[in-house]
Structure formats: structure tokens, C-alpha cells
């Protein structure tokens, strides 16, 4: 079973060493790509795509995390997953001081499904959070690709370690689950430090509707 955001903090942190599995490939045909497959598929993409707006051709190139997940059909061996998570965690730029921003701004970011596509202006991104997660109980139109985050901070409080976990997960979900389906919002340059703080507040601020 996929490791989820919902797990209690201690369990979530401890589970970094267990093997992630995404539950993908229900049709049984998600078989993973050899290095040669990956090169060939990347070549097909290069030959049949063109850049448009901010979506440059460099987006086709794979990084280490993508290579690992493609190779193992999102289910890499535990040891390799752990090494990948550690490397991703190291690359997170944690700001000093409080990680709690403005939950109201966070709600707007969570609502927006825009950003990073060829039809979006660069630098105006939302987090697409409601596309996949239940968050504020006031928003009924939420997706179910990711776990529900309703009451997230109510259950966990907002101690500095929890703030750090939430900020880190938003910044780079692959630091906690090597083949998480969640985009790496900070790592990819989608969201700014302030936006990630605002989303952290949406989940953890006791005044946020998420925790009412």
C-alpha cells in the first residue's frame, strides 16, 4: 500500500526505510523500463514533440528519481528507494524560522489548478491540491488521487518537526516516498517558498478551516 500523507508523523518518518509501492498497474501491464527502453521512449518524445510557451523540450529529460521510478514501475527495491529519498531530502531548501504562512493565501493556492503548462504564464502557479486531495471541509469538489487531508493539523498539532515535515513534503514529496505520485512543488520551481509556507499554514494553522 502506498505510504500516505495521513500516517501519523512518527510512522511517516519511520516508514522512509520501508519499500514504497504505489498500487499502480492494476491492469498488470506496468512493467518498468530498462535503461535502453528509457532512452528509446525519450527519443520518441523528442522526435514527436515541440516546445510551446514555457514547456521547453528540456522537460523530456529524466532526472534520477524519474529514472528510478520508470525502471521499477514505481516500486523500486527498498535500499534504492531509501537512497533516493535521502538524496531528495538533502536537496530541500528549508527556510529558517516559522514555516507557517497565511492559510487564506494557502487556500487560494490549493484551489488553483493552473501553472507550468504551455498555456500558463510563467511564474503564476497554483498547487492543484484539490485536484487530488480533500482539504478544507468547505470545498466539496475534491479529488481522491491522494489521501484526505481534512483535519490534518488537528490530529497532529503544529510542532516545528511537523511544520518541517509538511513543508518538506510539499517542497519535495519524493524525499518521503521515492515514487510518490505527488509533484515536487518546490524542487520543480512550481511554488515559491512563501506559497509553500502558505500551504503549510492551510494544513497546520489551528485557525485554518482544515482544522475546525
Amino acid at each position: 500500500m502506498r505510504r500516505m500523507f495521513l500516517l501519523p508523523l512518527a510512522a511517516a518518518l519511520a516508514s522512509c526505510s520501508t519499500s514504497p509501492s504505489t498500487g499502480m498497474g492494476t491492469a498488470g501491464d506496468h512493467r518498468g523500463e530498462s535503461a535502453a527502453d528509457m532512452q528509446r521512449i525519450t527519443a520518441v518524445l523528442k522526435a514527436n514533440m515541440h516546445e510551446r510557451g514555457q514547456a521547453k523540450m528540456s522537460r523530456i529529460e529524466l532526472d534520477d528519481a524519474q529514472r528510478l521510478c520508470n525502471q521499477y514501475a514505481d516500486n523500486p527495491p527498498a535500499e534504492q528507494a531509501k537512497r533516493m529519498e535521502e538524496a531528495q531530502l538533502k536537496a530541500i531548501a528549508f527556510p529558517s524560522g516559522s514555516l507557517i504562512g497565511d492559510w487564506k493565501a494557502g487556500e487560494k493556492i490549493a484551489q488553483s489548478g493552473r501553472g507550468m503548462t504551455w498555456s500558463d504564464k510563467p511564474g503564476t502557479a497554483g498547487g492543484s491540491c484539490y485536484n487530488c486531495h480533500q482539504i478544507s471541509p468547505k470545498e466539496e469538489a475534491f479529488g481522491t488521487i491522494g489521501p484526505s487531508l481534512a483535519g490534518f493539523g488537528k490530529v497532529r498539532g503544529n510542532r516545528p518537526e511537523i511544520q518541517r515535515y509538511v513543508y518538506g513534503k510539499l517542497y519535495n514529496a519524493k524525499a518521503y516516498n521515492a515514487c510518490s505520485q505527488m509533484p515536487r512543488f518546490g524542487h520543480s520551481g512550481t511554488l515559491t517558498e512563501q506559497q509553500i509556507k502558505d500551504l503549510t499554514a492551510l494544513l497546520l494553522d489551528p485557525a485554518s478551516p482544515v482544522n475546525q
Binding site: Q111, G113, S128, Y130, E140, A141
Partner: protein, 152 residues
Amino acid sequence: MDNERRSLLKAAGAVTAVLVAGLLKPLTALAAWNKEAFGAKTPAAAMKGIGVADAAPSKDLVIDAPEIAENGAVVPIEIASAIAGTRSIAVLVDKNPFPLVGRFDFSGGALPFVKLNVKIGETSDVRVIAEAGGKHYVATKNIKVTIGGCGG
């Protein structure tokens, strides 16, 4: 739906008219478009604009519409009145900037029935008013408008 649309395509005698911009004014004078009622910004003002002072709730006025709409740009609504002598049906969406959507006057053998697609900006009551024997009757149905898709 399948049979309907196939038969529509194949229907004998179905013709497509050519658009004649501005030239095809009806020979008989049209009932003028009720600017006051359609320009009204509240359901009460719109109702006043079409001469409705008081409307009694009626179970014989039936609105068939989905309770929840995936997209507010197209919300199908079917209205039928079983009130004897129904001469007209008006449709309002309470929370739209201009609530009055339309008014249908029936004569000859027309049954007091209409099916159409309407735009609903946000979750709202749809209010239908029928006129029969000089009296007005009302039915409402709440339709929830939600967000689907990736939102990008």
C-alpha cells in the same frame, strides 16, 4: 437518446435552413422582448416584470433536472405542468446575475412542456412559474454546481 438522435438524423423531411442575417424578420409582429423583466437583477424584480405578484406552490408543476451539475454552462432542465389550463411557463435561476431565463407561451395544441439547457453560475434554486386561469403557480428545485477536471 440513441434512438432519438439517429431518427433525428434520418428523419424524412428534416431540412437545414440557411442563415439569412437580418433579412428574415417575421411577417407577423413578434411579441417584444421583455427588456425590463430580462434586465431585472433579482428574482422578485424579474417576476414583477412578467406580471407575477403572487405564486402558489404546486406539486403539479414538475421540474426534472439533475440535483448536481458537473458544469454550470449546460444544465438540462425539463418542465411539465399538469395544472389545467396552463398557458405559460417562466424559468428563473435565482442566483444568476439576471435571473429570468425565459418565458414560454403555449397556444393551439401545445402541451405545457419544455426541455432546454440553461447556464447556472453557481449553486442555485431554479424557479419555475406557470400561469393558468389568471393565477400563478410556482415550483423550485435546487441545483448544485460543482467543479470537475484539472482546472487548468
